[in-house]
């Protein structure tokens, strides 16, 4: 049957790319920008990370390159939306399409290759003690980094002045401007952070999760990350919960397919997405409550007048 320990370990691995992208997008949206290009930034991160790791031979260089690739693509978005004041939704969609196409082009020579291995952080002896220790210690460094990132984002948003300013900019950019905060600069930094997170998530996908390069390998993970931000009502710990919930269902359905239970495969394949839709519907049924924590200036174009 299904072993709960391996299921949990698999769940955490399956969730990490989405979690990384979601936590980055959460920061972007908290600053009042809606970047729908997460999918594009993820796949660019996946191919940049894969290419670098294969060529240099160290997986860590791939993660750095993946984050850099995602960040560079997000700079395009930041320039278009913050300086040329283009529509954020349209620009984000364009970014996704552009990212998918560019990644396919870059990755043409890389299919069928195995990337260098990413070692676990803790030694094997520590992992094999018990069920608990294999859940706690049985992961690679990026997973611990993603958890640290959630904690850091939560702390910065809630308890530091920088986080307060970021939230203020996302809440009312005109008021923030009147107080003398540099709305455009703060938003650009948030967008680049979001791009780096998405790129890192993509690199994790191609270097650890799969691990190989296939065209279109993100397969909608970026869109799910976007949905998780709303599901989490812009709260970091809830984003963690949302990502693990989704990862859990994805990991479970793989195991259900392998076990003897006779459920049509297509239904199981659909299940994570159906659950996402159901959760989003439930979340938004109470409009007033859902909007309470939403950044009030989300998606609005800021133009400093006077």
């Amino acid at each position: 049957m299904i072993d709960p320990v391996t299921l949990i370990v698999a769940l955490i691995g399956a969730s990490t790319p989405i979690l990384l992208a979601a936590i980055g997008e959460l920061v972007v949206e908290k600053s009042g920008v809606l970047n729908l290009g997460v999918e594009g930034m993820m796949i660019i991160g996946a191919i940049c990370g894969f290419m670098t790791a294969v060529n240099i031979g160290f997986s860590w260089s791939g993660f750095v390159a993946g984050a850099a690739g995602g960040a560079i693509l997000s700079v395009v978005f930041a320039f278009l939306t913050q300086f040329l004041l283009s529509n954020q939704v349209a620009t984000g969609l364009a970014l996704t399409l552009f990212g998918l196409g560019l990644a396919a082009l870059l990755g043409e020579a890389y299919s069928g290759i195995s990337p260098p291995l990413t070692p676990d952080l803790f030694p094997q002896t520590l992992q094999e003690g018990s069920a608990i220790s294999s859940i706690i210690f049985g992961h690679d460094p990026v997973i611990y980094l993603s958890l640290g990132l959630v904690a850091a984002v939560w702390y910065v948003l809630q308890h530091t002045r920088a986080g307060l300013i970021l939230r203020a900019v996302g809440e009312n950019h005109d008021a923030a401007h009147a107080l003398g905060y540099r709305v455009v600069r703060i938003r650009c930094l948030a967008i680049i952070f979001g791009g780096a997170c998405a790129g890192l998530g993509g690199a994790y996908l191609s270097l650890v999760r799969v691990p190989s390069w296939t065209e279109g390998m993100t397969a909608g993970a970026g869109w799910i990350a976007l949905a998780i931000v709303v599901f989490a009502s812009w709260r970091p710990w809830r984003a963690l919960l949302g990502a693990y919930l989704f990862g859990g269902i994805a990991a479970l359905q793989l195991r259900l397919q392998a076990s003897d239970i006779t459920v049509p495969v297509v239904l199981l394949d659909m299940s994570p997405y159906i659950v996402t839709i159901v959760v989003l519907v439930l979340m938004s049924s109470n409009r007033v409550r859902a909007t309470l924590n939403a950044p009030a200036a989300l998606g609005k174009v800021f133009h400093a007048s006077g």
Binding site: N172, A175, A178, G306
Partner: protein
């Protein structure tokens, strides 16, 4: 005098494309002085203070602060130099709490607990009690202003700029504010007080500088000059109050009975058991500070939000569940407050905007096709009859100035000969000449036998045109009373519910009846 001036402004000039916002403006302020900056909308007051606060750079001219040259590059530089500002449209963040809002406006941030204590302490010494943990979205307008003032006071400013501070306050709240301001000026800080409310300025200010079309037209001591004279200086012409004639009340055209409504938006106000009726030939004035349910009431009357059929009666027919189009066909027309985006679509032409509300009543639609010639003709009539200054009906709504667009959206409804017209803040942000024209048009409409409901924050306006007066406070509507014989004191009590009378303790807003 004898004192060195705290702030001198010498020959400041600022041009924006197409307009000279400030033209060679000069004046000075002594420490401890409360100095009024007077002028109509568009006279250049806001541009001037933006330059003092570092939000705009002057094209020419110089400023000194405390004897030293003063050229703030950004608001933080102005704050560092000891200049603080309370904005007209509050620069507050609704989803953040009081302490967080205050922290955002200060350069040096004490730890949260110390900040909370400081807020309480400053609040107490200036009579501005506030609970640092409350969400700003839940505060009344008067309390929000307190947040802004405390934010400024925490920086020990030498100069405090107040931009139209009483426009959103009840008379009682304004009294509390004046008391605070006098305390601040007694402490040695100068106050630059911007307003177009002459009585405020006559009670509060030591000196006044009057701007018209970007230029200083006069300097005076407001206590020694009559309000009428100041008004003349501001406008540059004599204004005649709207003419009204006696009329016998007709039948009840619009009746609202026990209308309750939950808010649609976050931080909206629920409506609670609203009831009133308006007769033919009458104007009902609904006063109250914005954010007390005005938008919600207008949406319920216009049909944007549906209610029980019996909650709104039009000539004794329940129309509460009817959508806006059907209500318009019956003769209930509305002109909402927000001109760009609610009353008019900003990027559509005046003709297209005419079609949006006049389609049914002016017969601009035939078998699903629009009659553009007729629509253009209708738009031209609105422009001509209401003196809308625009090149023509093909201009987009966004291109019109606030006053002109307001004349257009109100004229558009009036020319459709409504049986009942509901307007929200008809003269908000409109210059005095256009405001007088709009008021006169509303009175003429009532004279012709229509019923008019006018929701406004401007008490003087309501007293001028209404037959009946009532006030909205936190979603409750007071019982309408005849305007004749109503004292300012009584109006203040109606506006403030109960809470404005006891110097607004924190949490006291919930005690309002």
């Amino acid at each position: 005098m004898g004192l060195t001036p705290l702030l001198t402004i010498d020959g400041l000039t600022k041009t924006y494309p197409g307009v000279v916002a400030n033209d060679d403006v000069s004046f000075h302020l002594a420490p401890g002085e409360i100095h009024a900056l007077l002028g109509e909308n568009g006279a250049g007051k806001s541009t001037l203070v933006k330059m003092i606060y570092g939000l705009a750079k002057p094209d020419a001219g110089a400023m000194t602060l405390g004897g030293a040259p003063y050229t703030p590059a950004a608001p933080w530089a102005a704050r560092a130099a000891g200049v603080a500002m309370v904005f007209q449209h509050f620069s507050l963040f609704e989803a953040l709490n009081v302490a967080e809002n205050i922290a955002l406006g200060t350069e040096t941030l004490p730890p949260p607990r110390a900040l909370a204590a400081q807020i309480r302490e400053v609040g107490k010494s200036y009579g501005l009690p506030l609970d640092p943990g409350r969400l700003v979205g839940d505060l009344s307008a008067g309390e929000r202003q307190r947040v802004e003032i405390i934010r400024c006071l925490l920086q020990n400013p030498r100069l405090l700029i107040m931009d139209e501070p009483t426009s959103v306050l009840t008379p009682q709240e304004a009294d509390i504010l004046f008391h605070t301001l006098r305390k601040i000026s007694a402490g040695g800080a100068a106050i630059l007080y911007i307003s177009h409310k002459l009585e405020d300025i006559r009670t509060l200010c030591d000196k006044a500088t009057i701007l018209r079309q970007g230029k200083v037209v006069a300097t005076c001591t407001p206590r020694e000059v009559s309000a009428a004279r100041i008004a003349e200086l501001m406008v540059g012409q004599l204004l005649s109050p709207p003419a009204r004639t006696e009329r016998a009340p007709g039948e009840v055209l619009l009746k609202v009975a026990d209308l309750s409504l939950e808010p649609v938006a976050a931080f909206g106000t629920p409506l609670r058991h609203i009831g009133f009726d308006v007769r033919a030939g009458e104007v009902l004035g609904i006063g109250g500070v914005a954010g007390n349910g005005q938008d919600e009431l207008l949406m319920a009357l216009s049909g944007e939000v549906l209610t029980a059929p019996g909650a709104i009666l039009f000539k004794d027919h329940g129309i509460g569940a009817m959508p806006p189009g059907q209500r318009r066909s019956l003769g209930l027309l509305c002109a909402p407050e927000e001109r760009l985006g609610h009353a008019a679509a900003p990027d559509m032409s005046l003709t297209e905007n005419a079609v949006l509300t006049a389609r049914q009543r002016e017969g601009l639609e035939r078998g699903g096709f629009l009659d553009w010639a007729g629509a253009k003709d209708f738009a031209r009539r609105v422009i001509a009859n209401f003196d809308v200054r625009t090149p023509g009906p093909d201009v987009v709504a966004r291109a019109l100035s606030g006053g002109n667009l307001q004349k257009y959206v109100i004229g558009r409804e009036i020319l459709q000969t409504p049986t009942v017209l509901v307007v929200n803040q008809p003269t908000w942000g409109v210059d005095a000449g256009a405001a007088a024209a709009i008021r006169q048009a509303l009175l003429d409409l009532a004279k012709g036998g229509a019923a008019v409901v006018c929701i406004s924050q401007d008490i003087d306006e309501l007293l001028e045109i209404s037959d009946w007066f009532c006030a909205l406070n936190e979603g409750h509507l007071s019982t309408p009373r005849p305007v004749r014989g109503l004292s300012m004191e009584e109006i203040g009590l109606m506006l403030g519910g109960a809470h404005a009378t006891h110097k607004a303790e924190p949490g006291a807003t919930h005690a309002a009846a």
